[in-house]
Amino acid sequence: MSQTHHVVVEVNGVKREADVEPRLLLVHFLRENLGLTGTHIGCDTTNCGACTVLLDGKAVKSCTVLTVQADGRKVTTIEGLGGDGKLDRVQEGFVAKHGLQCGFCTPGMVISAYALLQEKPHPTEEEIKTAISGNICRCTGYESIIESVKYAAKAGRRRKSPGRPSGRRS
């Protein structure tokens, strides 16, 4: 067995190849190998959710996935939402309803909210709370984040979701 493994990961619709050590965490691959620093490292202990990305369409903590596990799979990061200079409706919601203060948790929050709206376009408040319960925010007290997600859901009723990522829905 070699020390490194060749991986091909589709990140935000683009195939990225690298030879990586098995111990390289997905979040480090994204930030350091690919320079996608929108995905944050908060607690580094699987608690805070700042590193949340979509793996084959499911929201996961990228600090708790090995890069080799993502071989042949699709990853969507915060940089992959929206497109053509436009924000995704979830991002718009966070702007409109002040869903952030310091902004550190925001990429993870947005990804979790995005995954929720893909699965449940019209979530109840309880479903929103559950969906973001793996993401910690130390500024807002969460109320404005919940309002932001509601805003995004309403925006989705007015128009079709613009920035559907390449992540597979299962």
């Binding site: 067995m1 493994h5 050590e21 098995p22 111990r23 965490l25 480090h28 580094d44 202990t45 699987t46 608690n47 959710g49 949340t52 793996l55 499911k58 929201a59 996961v60 903590k61 600090c63 708790t64 996935v65 090995l66 080799v68 596990q69 071989d71 979790s112 559950t130 969906a131 319960s133 793996g134 993401n135």
Partner: protein, 292 residues
């Protein structure tokens, strides 16, 4: 935090995976959802020479009823349990537990097999299996072995699985008509370990008395515990029989051996067990009446 160096293999079959585990003796570990294993690696509490990633093995992700059992493949994600209408209808304790495990992000990767074979006394599924008289199937070098849930959890982080065996299927007997199950958990915050948890499974007789009772406890001993004396105390009794329910709670609290820690004192946790057992018996009976 960066894990120590390890070798990595992602076999496509159980046979190949078992072969790798066997060839490396105690130096190899299975990687399933990774939601316990990867934190252990990062904290350097585990340092296996080889990680055998079983996620590329097909056919271990299913939920179905056949031949008298609910059968759940070991690689089924916890999130999948939570979405199952079958579980919600007929396996209430398993469904409840799947919605309280960690948080939704962890549940998207964490597996049923991992939650059980990790042997963590704070994990939620072991108590459900103990209450529901579950069974476990594992494959090793000499073929498949079946275990009863009772006796499977040997010690903290230790199960009856051999080092070169892989858990493949979790089984729960299809409950008879008028059965119900519930899982109740107290935690300080989302994704914390349970301060205490209780799984209750009941089957009612003609007069709504308990014809069968299973009670499993989470987080109050070196392993998940089966509160056998409490189960026996409820046989033939109704959940409305206050004295019997109190007695069952007391016996379950006696069976537990919680440690005082940041989540509560020993006394507080025993108190929780008394309360959750009583509440669990009541709610499981309600579900049984609805036929859930």
């Amino acid at each position: 935090m960066i894990p120590p160096r390890f070798e990595y293999a992602a076999p496509k079959s159980i046979g190949e995976a078992v072969g790798l585990l066997k060839s490396r003796g105690g130096e190899a570990k299975v990687l399933a959802g990774g939601q316990s294993m990867i934190p252990l690696l990062k904290l350097r509490l585990a340092a296996p020479a080889l990680l055998v990633d079983i996620n590329r093995i097909e056919g271990l992700d299913y939920i179905r009823e056949s031949m008298g059992f609910l059968r759940v493949g070991a690689l089924t994600r916890v999130a999948t349990l939570g979405r199952s209408a079958l579980l919600e209808r007929r396996y209430g304790a398993l469904h409840d537990a799947s919605l309280t495990i960690a948080d939704p992000l962890v549940r998207n990767l964490g597996t049923v097999g991992g939650n059980i074979s990790h042997g963590d006394p704070s994990n939620d599924l072991p108590a459900v299996l103990l209450a529901a008289e579950g069974e476990l199937a594992a494959t090793g070098p000499s073929g498949e072995r079946t275990f009863r849930a009772e006796g499977f959890f040997v010690g903290t982080f230790t199960t009856a699985l051999a080092q070169d065996e892989i858990l493949t299927e979790v089984r729960i007997p299809v409950p008879p008509h008028r059965s119900g199950g519930v899982y109740l958990k107290v935690e300080q915050k989302v994704a914390d370990f349970a301060t205490a948890g209780v799984a209750v499974q009941v089957s009612l007789g003609r007069g709504s008395e308990c014809a069968k009772v299973g009670i499993g406890l989470t987080g109050v001993g070196p392993t998940a515990l089966k509160a056998k004396k409490a189960e026996e105390a409820m046989l033939g009794k109704k959940a409305t029989d206050r004295k019997a329910v109190e007695e069952a709670g007391e016996l379950a609290a006696d069976a537990s051996s919680p440690a005082s820690d940041i989540r509560g004192t020993e006394d507080y946790k025993r108190g929780l067990i008394r309360l959750l057992v009583a509440r669990g018996l009541e709610r499981a009976t309600q579900r049984a009446r609805r036929g859930a």
